[in-house]
Symmetry: C2
Subunit: 346 residues, 2 copies
Amino acid sequence: MAATMTDVARLANVSVSTVSYVLTGARPISGATRERVLAAIAELGYSPNAMARGLASRRSTLLGLLLPLGEDGVGATVSAFVNGAASAASAAGYHLTLNPVGADDAAPLRELASRRLLAGAALMAVRLDDPRVDVLRELGVPYVLIGRTRDTTGVSFVDIDFDTTMADAVEHLVRLGHRRVVYVNHSQDALAAGDGPTVRTAEAFARAMRVHGLEPVMVAVDAGAAHGRIAVEEALARDPGVTAFVSMNESATFGILAGLADRGLRVPQDVSVVSVVMAPAVAELARPALTAMESPGAALGRLAVEALVDQLDRTDRRDEDKDKEVHQQLLPCTLRVRGTSGPVRS
Amino acid sequence: MAATMTDVARLANVSVSTVSYVLTGARPISGATRERVLAAIAELGYSPNAMARGLASRRSTLLGLLLPLGEDGVGATVSAFVNGAASAASAAGYHLTLNPVGADDAAPLRELASRRLLAGAALMAVRLDDPRVDVLRELGVPYVLIGRTRDTTGVSFVDIDFDTTMADAVEHLVRLGHRRVVYVNHSQDALAAGDGPTVRTAEAFARAMRVHGLEPVMVAVDAGAAHGRIAVEEALARDPGVTAFVSMNESATFGILAGLADRGLRVPQDVSVVSVVMAPAVAELARPALTAMESPGAALGRLAVEALVDQLDRTDRRDEDKDKEVHQQLLPCTLRVRGTSGPVRS
DNA sequence: GCGCTTCGTCGAAACGCTTCGATGATGACG
DNA sequence: CGTCATCATCGAAGCGTTTCGACGAAGCGC
């Protein structure tokens, strides 16, 4: 049915290896022959069989995006990463596969990786101690983290610069006169599991507050608008004089706004709210629109894939630059002031 | 490095074909031999090379999810589809690849499909006349639509039942006494391009209104909260007496609430708003929480992939049931009343 | 106990490509 | 004008599976 390389070779009056060389450029081919081959390819509408190519070259064009997938779907912020990754992969001639593998059970990943289907992998939702990383290293699958483990020596990653992000968020509030700020983090479970962003923002917030001589207060709640309201109650219980909230918990942030409104607290006149690591489009949905540390979004995913592809090319060429060169990059979120932050009430 | 089937065969003292039969079940193997082979497999930590398998069996475990990917990322509602699809694929032993191919240029798809990397494809964001469908049919790649073309004879698809959904939404409002309802649809561009949901909801809304003897008024705006405000202005210009909005435009819906508030119109006392085809989690973010026709979300993606896998299995077995049996399924959204709909003001 | 099917297993031929060593043809050089 | 690289191309050997035909060994009826 579909044309094979043999068909092309026959039509162009060359051997199959010549066709292969024209396609891959692995050896020089004269202009005339190349033309003839390309013409034959065009005439037959030929394109190489990916499986055969993969088998023979023991190289695949598949990049795995490894991430836990709950039934509820990922938020807009995460979906931006995925997006950027898919686009970048596509642009580099690779294909991105979505692999639901969580950090809890490494067995499926071991399976997946040893089937040699993937040329490389990008890990999302990385924990401080992530068993998946060990599996990948052990099986020799090139990988890049979106996020990072506790120990990052020799590991390529792209992550958000939580320290800078938190420092900027707190700084913004402090400048407005706020001194009693509560941080609404992801769930207690995420914290206990060692989820990177959860743990890092907790620490970064504490540091940022102490820099200004302030006491950090943190509340951890599950996702969902309802839990945002709970966060407000808990925060007020812990510190009735709180004047500002910082939140990374996307859906809860909306609940915080609702909870404050319910209590008759106006935003930003009575209380300020700053969302961290949020996609601009999401921040715009709130009323008032949320002042936010906007996440680098698609760029993160794109950079991760580009780093991965780079690494693959390097191993392929195996040239002078030692191929164990790691790519480590932190991207800060950028402050975008909208309607939920203002001077502390006097 | 990695163990091959030959290694397993040697260790188990059988031929490679026997190992293959144990793995694929293509031929019966005695219990004793099977045990021996499985033991060898376990000992070597063997798992079959996906490429070699794919080449020899001309079957792949990759399902392509074909969808246009803007840099801005997909909304939570779409991401739920993707999610469901990825999970279902994974559960069925397949892998989902994310392929950014829009309906505008079919060339990349032709490339992709003729490389025989994909066992099948699921198309998202289907237009009434979608060139991608022709490409897939022509190249003989099994496919399922998430959405549907104008003519659906012989085509498998899973889609939202826009007729029922709109009828229910309008019915809900009419029962509350509303008679002047405006539908806020996706952009004029989407409408002109023949985007399925955009066109179908437009028609369904008109039908639903006429059933009640009401005049359908529709406004088409781009995505984004800002455009929701524009929609409100435009709606009031078209009919100053409007008492209710129906909207499918996710981000604009939030803008509608903002726009109404700006004008001093209270929701739901003065004006009602019903969102259609929206994920519950998103509806909860609004204040008040949105009355919505909730989209089947992950189920849609899951069903599509299951239908596709079914079709693949059937072509494989090529048994009595004619393998051109199509799967066509419409899922309605379900009404969930929250805080944005109420009796018409008297 | 003779032919017969049935069952479990084997060997070898694909599958469609990449890659390596080899081979003529070509041109440079002394 | 013979010698040696150099260059473009060829042929063949894989890559790790699946799958098909074949073939002994049992098991069956008579």
